[in-house]
């Protein structure tokens, strides 16, 4: 802690935005005493401010915190001060912040251990949006089904592909002259915090059948265990390819900038065995042969990334 402190005048001028230089800012970052004094004179400024005449909405919690903790960028200070000057609730919030940083905590300030443990155990992981898996199923006219899987960064995600070999003849499909049922595809996530969102954009010549069971499964809350969250029966016309010519093409891109994500390890597993392992190249692409029977594609990326799979 520094031995020399800012003067009252310097603190007042800093608070009012008149004095802003690196030395003062640097000192404030490292000096708890001056931080405490700054909080006090900010509270004093609230007490001196004229309360607003017409009550406005409460400021966001973070704006209040930033006001007292020295990062009030981008907010209308006069408006905020006028609100707090007439709002006991927000004033109490600021007081709580000041008091939180003021006294030395004593053992009496701590709750009993059982209270803490109970709250810690009552954890229900998030279910949606940014850190949750999003699965989109698109149909591409010529390529076949196109899956998009977005697991959270660092989370292990898996995609189970159930491919009954009997449905795919060895002869080129053009010669067979018929549309074939593509194998059922099961999606299985090992990360427990996923909620799946699906959108279907089938071309007219294709059809997507989704079982009632799958629909119910995807709409209900996901339990914190591995769970099958979708079951799609899709039909494709693989455009003259034989089964051994069909490959899984996987493109991994970073969510942050949509750039290819090289060096991401992927593996195909079945019956607790690893069938194949590969790593995405500089273009973020990896390929696997279409697996026989049921297999699981395992994917783990150090950054949040999107996995696109085409057949």
């Amino acid at each position: 802690m520094p031995d020399v402190h800012l003067t009252d005048e310097q603190l007042t001028e800093f608070r009012d935005g008149v004095l802003w230089n690196p030395v003062v800012v640097s000192h404030l970052r490292s000096c708890p005493i001056c931080q405490t004094r700054l909080r006090e004179i900010r509270m004093l400024r609230i007490l001196l401010a004229r309360p607003e005449q017409k009550r406005s909405d409460h400021p966001a919690a973070e704006d209040l915190a930033a006001y007292l903790e020295g990062q009030p960028g981008g907010m209308n200070l006069t408006k905020l001060e006028a609100h707090v000057a007439g709002c006991p609730q927000c004033f109490a919030d600021l007081t709580a912040i000041r008091e939180q940083f003021q006294p030395v905590p004593t053992p009496d300030d701590a709750p009993p251990e059982w209270v803490v443990v109970r709250a810690a155990r009552a954890f229900h992981p998030p279910e949606t949006r940014l850190n949750l898996g999003i699965l989109l199923v698109h149909w591409l006219n010529r390529v076949g089904p196109f899956l998009r899987l977005i697991p959270p960064s660092g989370q292990r995600a898996s995609l189970m592909l159930e491919a009954p070999p009997a449905t795919m003849p060895e002869a080129p499909l053009e010669e067979s002259g018929q549309e074939l049922a593509f194998p059922s595809v099961l999606f299985k996530m090992s990360a427990r915090a996923y909620r799946i969102e699906r959108s279907f954009e089938p071309a007219e010549s294709h059809r997507v059948e989704e079982s009632e069971e799958a629909r119910e499964e995807s709409s209900k809350e996901v339990e914190p265990v591995d769970v099958t969250i979708g079951h799609l029966k899709v039909r494709i016309t693989p455009q003259g390819r034989t089964r051994d010519q069909v490959t899984l093409t996987i493109v991994v891109t970073r969510s942050v900038d949509n750039a290819p994500a090289p060096g991401v390890q992927l593996s195909l597993e079945a019956d607790q065995r690893t069938l194949a392992t590969t790593t995405t190249g500089d273009n973020g692409v990896a390929e696997f042969p279409l697996p026989q029977g049921q297999a699981t594609l395992v994917f783990q990326s150090p950054v949040r990334a999107e996995l696109q799979i085409s057949f």
């Binding site: 973070e62 609730q89 109490a92 009993p112 949006r129 850190n131």
Partner: protein, 213 residues
Amino acid sequence: MTPTDEDRQLIDSILAGDPQAWEKVVRHFSSMVWRILLGRFRLSQDDAADAFQEIFLALQKDDFRRVRQWRGEAPLDAYMVVVVSRLAQDVLRAARRAQEPIQDGATEREGDGDASALDLPDDAPGPLAVRELAEQRHAVTTCRERLGARDQELLKLRYDQELQYRAIAKRLQMTVNNVGVALGRAEERLRQCLKQHFRELFPGWGDPAQASV
């Protein structure tokens, strides 16, 4: 006084579903929550234990909305103080309503916090908060009147008329720098008065030796 990478990583871990990160958060903020419940809301230990649980459950509601709303512009600790204070108020209000008979015409509401309880006509802050602000403002007014004429004039121009430093300098024929110095000293004299005559209203003010940040 600035958000840290550790804060951000902690929040990211929670949102990724890491139970250990959650426990870390609970432990880190346990004393703060406890102090708010016992100190600000004057709860008994038993009531505080229940409210403690409710607050941490409320933090998870709406897909961790309050956790996600942290933009990283204010330190996480300070942000959580405000969030917890608001949640505590909601939790206690809901508990209070649960003990009261339902009034005709009462309706569900979605408020700042978790408004699972029925609304009441008055959702104003508690009497403690109202009294605290009123008493402190009264103390400031009293001390302002005890200041010298020059200090009073400066505070009047700055706070009642909301003039900027430059306008004050022009009005009082001072340099802008001198306005800052004079205003700082006037406010310091005001704080001394508050500490001397209204110490019980401003606990901890002017006591930097106890600072613990």
